[in-house]
Each structure stands twice: as structure tokens, then as C-alpha cells.
Symmetry: C2
Subunit: 468 residues, 2 copies
């Protein structure tokens, strides 16, 4: 790259915000996806404003240098993984909450604002941004990129249900706004929704307007061990239909439950005999505006769980309840530490989970792998930790699992995204007509193809193959 | 048109389903938009299956004949209004509910299924499709086209929040599926969301997968008269923030309230003295799973309304409550009968309503017009009936009102859509960068430009003007 290029970048964002060589911290070379090694980008650029982002994109376009966008780097699909020779555009400096508007119940934030930061600022107002992927250090910009979900999605939905508007910069440096501080619109194609989940391949997000909710003050965590996994998964549609509106509705197999409680040093007070009989657990968090209502809901849920075959029903003491949820949020790190080689988050129709998990168990056995699971059963979004160190065997197993999910009426990723790690599975399984439209949309937004190289919608040559 | 064209259509859908001349019923020549005269299309085609839709689109593409899509024709923006020389593709025959899946809480329907029909079939299962634009004879296909909203959106959101997947036919006859029976996905660009609200300009919907909700059994309707309109609109953010989660949160000015109660022959038992002092009303419907909870919510809301300055608070007897809501749903017809010349449904940030309405009143006066209002205040989606018979003066007034809404941080339509009636306002106010992307997206889906002629994203020549 010419020195002119770096000079322009330095002028745009300040020399100290253009990192190269040893100044590029190892954190910038990867996200949290298992099995993807570090990549050092050409340079890490830290813009401080929308105008600076626009300038950087103009420079990148002028020099034909690709751009990868990074929030907090907590993603699980390699969407924020750099490419050698690319600019890694990181939003560490654009981390201001621009506005908390209590009358309209919206917040306006820069992309580098973290979930923890936003909810900390919202707490005094009795408001919450309820989307909660496990990692609270995740950024709002990253959440928009991958349409992040998490445990509370069963009640509140995912990122796309809470983003009302965006400010983005197009590849050519044009600054554009979509949506606004209003909760509904029928005015033109909904580009806000198109941009959410596009993983930095269509435009660069510089501001996010999110919808907030009144914070519910009373919480109960209910734990129900079951003798078998199918009993747990069959209970889920009944709980959803009951109307108690769980905020969290998770299952964990016995191995996962034992790992997370052990790692967190948690004793939930479950008798040894029950623990030995339990092959799977359901974790339900209820939230209400008053203690009386919460108690009613807990009782209704307890009765229902008993009817559905739970070995017992435990209402955890508040501290144990929140520790269990925190431990569940840390599961990724436990899984990583235990040597898992991959994590899969296919989503399927809720009622198809029992058959899907049975099929996955068979596939794991036939591929010489071990698969352990837990996940957002309320959404049909099962997370599977795959233990199979051989890359080729793992690839074959993943393919078979994704095929099973798709045949069950589901799709590859419920919330982690496609990124770079699932591109091959995505491209080979997507309808060629859909892929072809995605290519055309990508070309409309980013004709030079500088945003998110090697990411969605995948190589065009494959598409021609698919069509022929 | 050559006889070959009609022969091909007859072969595709059956001769009796290709209507021309006198066989084209007047209903097909318009939707419910005020001020748009009837247009007789070249032919009305009634397909009976997805395959037939695909054949019709192939024929249209081959002959270069444009296609306008029609659901029940209840739209308020002229999106379903035919064009002379075009095929009007009407879904009267594709009105089957393909599946009610209680375990996954989804329904799979053809586009001609009406809201009334769907909710009638769902009732025995204790489920509801909660999106409720006033007109229950509206079709699901039409609702997807305009991203319909309605009174219950304040709690449940709009059409786009309930559509999980689509089957569509592209202009070239390709049948494509998006989404599925799953509530979340991060797998490629979200074309489901892009198609929703695209008013038949990108593809033709042939199947809709919608998310259902448990039906809440207990309902109360609360009516609160206020001395002034600003007091009503200022109360709204407080009610939303209170956590009582109204299912309906509407305001009506004194004129609207008097019109709808009179038209429905309703006596709400409000003393004459209160009626005379009241310039505006708030109507709040609460729904709960039990009588006890409902009573609590009603009490909390009543206290809050008193604190917010309501002249009194009436909990209507059940029959009167549902009659009032039905009367409100029929308001469009009352407005029409009273001689309104147009209806505007701009959406603005909820807290901006008082200033917006004050500005609208001034604009109406300065344009020699009368404007009466009511609407979904919980969403910031005010509906204004404009009385100004002179087309040019009305156009200027509408322009000024839309400009005011946009300056207040809002946009042109909250739920009615752009259709044909608001195209000029849309094109002149939209960001050229946004319009340019919409044009490229339109070209990607429909390169021949046969779908929805004269509709979004507007004429390309205007765009060049805007850019230059």
C-alpha cells in the first residue's frame, strides 16, 4: 500500500488512530469463533465520528482496500474476523450514548456502546434494552450486524425487533438514515430491516436508535429436572401456549448443567437422587411487575411442569437464580475451556426439537463425535457444542446437522450469523434464487465489493454453478 | 393485446378466471382510498394456486404486460388500484388456511385469507393473530403488502412483527421461499422483511407464515375525556411507561367521538356537562389472562389518568366497550360519509404529537381546510381526515403536513402505505441515496418493471433530478 493511503487515513481519523504492525493488539485479530486462527489486518482504524467513517470509506474505495467492521469482537461466526490486506474498522472510540429519550422510550447510541453500558445508563430511568446475547460486553453495532438474540428473545424478540432506525455510511462515503424514533412505518422498502443482520457487508452502521421497555422488577428462576431430553423439549410448546410469558426458557442437558454449575461453584440444592435421575433440565425465568403476580405465575408454571413430567420443580433463591443465569451466559467460555471444536446454533420450529436432537445424537455417533447441547428452546434455537478435532470429519458432521435442521423446516443460524465460519454451508444450502437476489442487493449497496470481503452473500462464481 | 395472450392466461388459470369487459366487477376497479377514481384494468385474473401465479407472471413478462396485485381491496393508499392495460391479479380463489400449527403457534395461509376468517378458525384453539387494521375483511396478502398496523399495534406490533416466512413468485415466474416456521434467524439478508411493505412491487406473495399468540380472555375498555387535546397526547408516554401494556391506546377529538358514537347509536353514559367540557378523549383497552389482574390494571390506569388530568374515567360495560371499538373501526366509513377528501396517517415520535397537532391545526387554517383527527397515539400514528375539496389546495396542505411530520422526526405513512396516492410526497421527500438503493433493489427483483407500475420506488427520472 502506498504511503499516500496511510497519510490520508491519518488525516481522516488522526495518526494515533491508525494502527499498524506491533500497535495492532492481538484482540483485533479475531472474534470469539472457535477454530478460526488470528489474522492481522493491514491496519486497524479507529474512527471517532460518522464523518470520519465516511472519510475512511472514501479512502478505502479510492484505493480498493476492503473493510471489515468490528464491534466488541464477541461474535461467534467470524463476521468481525479481519482479512489480511484489509482495514479493520473498529468502534472503540464511537461508544457514546447520544440520547436517552424517556418520553419516546428510545435510546440513540453509537455502534461501540456495549449492552452493559447502555443498560447501566438506563437503570435509573426504570428502562431496559431487553436483547441479551450472553456477552454483556457486546456492542450495539455488532448486535445490529448479526441480528443478535440471546436468552430473553423468547419474550422480547431479537435485535431486529428493537432497532427503529439506523445511520449508516455506504461504501462510497454517503451518509444515510433509515427509520427514526417511531415504532411503525409503511413508507418505502424497509432498509433498516435489510441492514440488520447483514454483517457489515452492505453498509457501516454509525448510529442505532433502539426501542426500550419498562424494566420489570420482580424475578423468579425456576429449575425443573426431567428424566429424559424429549420430555423437556415436548414441554416447551405447552409452556409457551400457557400464557405465562417466560423471559427466559432454556434447556440444558445433564452434562451442560453439571459443567456450568461446577464452573461457577454453584450448589442449587438438588438432591443427589434427583440429579442422578435427571438427563435434562429446563430453566425458566419469570419477570413481573409485582410480587403477587410473580407468585401466581410461578405457581401456575410449577403445576404445569409437574403435569408435564418434571421430576421436581425448584424455585431458586434469588441469588442462586441470578448466578445460574450468569453461569449459563458464561457457558461459551466453559465450553471453550472444555475443548469444544465448534458451536452450532441452527434454529428449527420449536416443536421439531425432539426429533432434531435425536437425529443430531445419531449423526454425532456416526461421525465419531460428541455433541452436547443447551439452548433457547422457547425459540427453537438449540446451541450444540461439537467435539470432533478432525476438521474434515467435523465439517461433514456440521453439514449433516445443518441439512437436518433445514429438512426440519429450520435454518443455519438463529442468532450467531453466517460470518466467515458458516459461509460454505450457507452458500451450498441456500436457494439459488435467494442467493442471486442477495448478490444483486450487495452490488446495489457496495458495487466495488469492499465491505466484508469473503462474507455474505458468498462468491458469485458459486452462484453461476448453482444456476447452471 | 393479442388473442394469444388471453389464450395463454385461460390455459394457465381456466377461462372463467380471466375476466374482461363487463365481467370485471366494479369492486376490482378501486381500493378504499378517498379521491381516487375507478380504473378498469385490461383483465382481472384469479389464480387458484402458486403454480398458476407463476404461469401468469411468465405470460405477463413474455408480453410485457404490467401486473397489479389485489387482496380484498380495503387498502387506503391506492396500492391495489388497477392500471389501464395491466393485469389485476386478485386472490379471491387463494383463500385457504393451509395449516394451523398449535405446537409452533403459527398459521400458514394463502394471501386471500381474511383476518376475520383466520381469527374465526383460530378461536377454538385459544389463539389469535393480533394484528388488526380496522377492516376485518382485509386479506393477509394485502396486509403483508402494506405492512398493515391498526389499533392493537401498540401492544403487538404490526404485520412485519408477525410474519415469519413467505412464499413469493418473482416477476420471471420463479417460486421462492423466505424464512419459515421459526421466530428468529441470522442467515443471510432478511428478504422476508424486505418484501413486507413493498406493496406488490418486488414479488407476488402466494403464502404467508404468521406467528400466533395465546388469546387473552379478559377485556376492559376505559374512556377518559380531557379538557384539551394536548393533555391527552401528553398523557400517552406516561401510560406507555407505566407498564400496564394497553392493547389499544387511541385518542379521538370531540368531533370524531361524537361522529362515531352517533353513527353507531351508542350512548356511553357520559354526563352532558362532561361532554361539553371535553375536547378530546382517550380510549384504552386492557386485556389480561384473569379478572383479578384486569381489575388491578384498570385501577392502576384509572389512578394514573386522574393524575394526568382526565375530567373523569369511565370503565365501559363490556357491550358498550366492544361497540365503541367496533364503531372506531368503522370510523373510516363515517369519515367517508361525512365528506372527507383525504386521510393522512403520518407517524411521528410519540412525544412529538402535541406539537405536531398544533402545527397541523395552524396549517389547516392557513390552507382554508378543516382537519379532524384520531388515531393510534400509543404508536405516534395519528390519522387525520382532511376536508378540502380543492385538489390543488389539498395537495399543498398535505405536503405541508408531511413536511411537518418529517421535521418532527417522523415519516409519511405509519400503516396505510405509499401506494399510488402518496407517491409524489414520498419521492420528493425521500433521501436520494435511499431512493437510489430502492431503485436498485426494485431492478434486482423485477428487471422488466412489470410489478406495480407507477408505484414504489417512483420514477427513475425524478431520481436523476434529485441527484444532480
Amino acid at each position: 500500500m502506498t504511503s499516500d493511503f496511510f497519510e490520508q487515513l491519518g488525516k481522516a481519523v488522526g495518526d494515533t488512530n491508525v494502527l499498524t504492525g506491533d500497535a495492532v493488539h492481538a484482540d483485533y485479530t479475531h472474534d470469539e469463533t472457535l477454530g478460526l486462527g488470528p489474522v492481522v489486518p493491514l491496519t486497524v482504524v479507529l474512527p471517532g465520528s460518522t464523518g470520519e467513517v465516511a472519510e475512511v470509506l472514501c479512502i478505502a474505495t479510492e484505493h480498493g482496500v476492503p473493510v471489515v467492521v468490528r464491534g466488541s469482537g464477541t461474535g461467534l461466526s467470524g463476521a468481525a474476523r479481519p482479512v489480511a490486506g484489509a482495514i479493520l474498522l473498529a468502534f472503540d472510540r464511537m461508544n457514546r450514548i447520544r440520547e436517552i429519550d424517556t418520553d419516546n422510550q428510545v435510546a440513540v447510541v453509537e455502534p461501540g456502546v456495549t449492552l452493559e453500558q447502555l443498560n447501566g445508563e438506563l437503570a435509573p430511568y426504570g428502562l431496559v434494552y431487553p436483547v441479551s446475547p450472553g456477552e454483556q460486553s457486546a456492542s450495539l453495532g455488532g448486535n445490529v450486524g448479526t441480528n443478535a438474540g440471546g436468552m430473553r428473545a423468547v419474550r422480547y424478540g431479537v435485535t431486529r425487533h428493537h432497532v427503529l432506525g439506523l445511520e449508516v455510511v455506504l461504501a462510497d462515503g454517503t451518509v444515510m438514515r433509515t427509520g427514526g424514533k417511531f415504532v411503525k412505518s409503511s413508507t418505502g422498502y424497509d432498509l433498516t430491516q435489510l441492514l440488520i443482520g447483514s454483517e457489515g457487508t452492505l453498509a457501516v452502521t454509525t448510529e442505532v436508535i433502539v426501542k426500550l421497555h419498562p424494566r420489570l422488577t420482580e424475578t423468579a428462576t425456576v429449575l425443573a429436572p426431567f428424566a429424559t431430553l424429549p420430555e423437556v423439549t415436548k414441554a416447551v410448546p405447552r409452556i409457551v401456549a400457557s400464557g405465562v410469558e417466560p423471559t427466559i426458557l432454556e434447556y440444558a442437558d445433564a452434562l451442560v448443567m453439571s459443567s456450568i454449575t461446577k464452573a461457577a461453584g454453584l450448589d442449587l440444592g438438588i438432591p443427589e437422587s434427583v440429579q442422578q435421575a435427571a438427563l435434562a433440565y429446563l430453566v425458566v425465568v419469570l419477570e413481573q411487575s409485582s410480587v403477587a403476580r410473580l407468585d401466581e405465575d410461578v405457581e401456575q408454571l410449577g403445576t404445569l411442569l409437574g403435569d408435564l413430567g418434571a421430576l421436581d420443580v425448584y424455585v431458586l433463591p434469588p441469588h442462586a437464580g441470578s448466578s445460574l443465569i450468569t453461569a449459563r451466559e458464561r457457558l461459551f467460555f466453559v465450553t471453550k475451556a472444555s475443548g469444544a471444536d465448534d458451536i452450532i446454533d441452527a434454529v428449527i420450529p420449536r416443536a421439531a426439537i425432539p426429533d432434531y436432537l435425536a437425529a443430531v445424537a445419531e449423526l454425532a455417533a456416526s461421525h465419531g463425535a460428541f455433541v452436547s447441547g443447551c439452548g433457547h428452546v422457547g425459540d427453537g434455537n438449540v446451541h450444540l457444542a461439537v467435539f470432533q478435532p478432525d476438521a474434515q470429519a467435523r465439517h461433514e458432521l456440521n453439514r449433516a446437522i445443518f441439512r437436518t435442521a433445514i429438512e426440519a423446516g429450520g435454518t443455519i443460524s438463529g442468532e450467531h450469523g453466517i460470518g466467515t465460519s458458516k459461509m460454505s454451508y450457507f452458500v451450498e444450502s441456500a436457494d439459488p434464487a435467494l442467493l442471486s437476489l442477495m448478490h444483486a442487493i450487495k452490488a446495489a449497496f457496495d458495487p466495488g465489493g469492499i465491505l466484508g470481503p469473503g462474507r455474505m452473500p458468498g462468491p458469485a462464481d458459486h452462484l453461476e454453478t448453482a444456476h447452471s
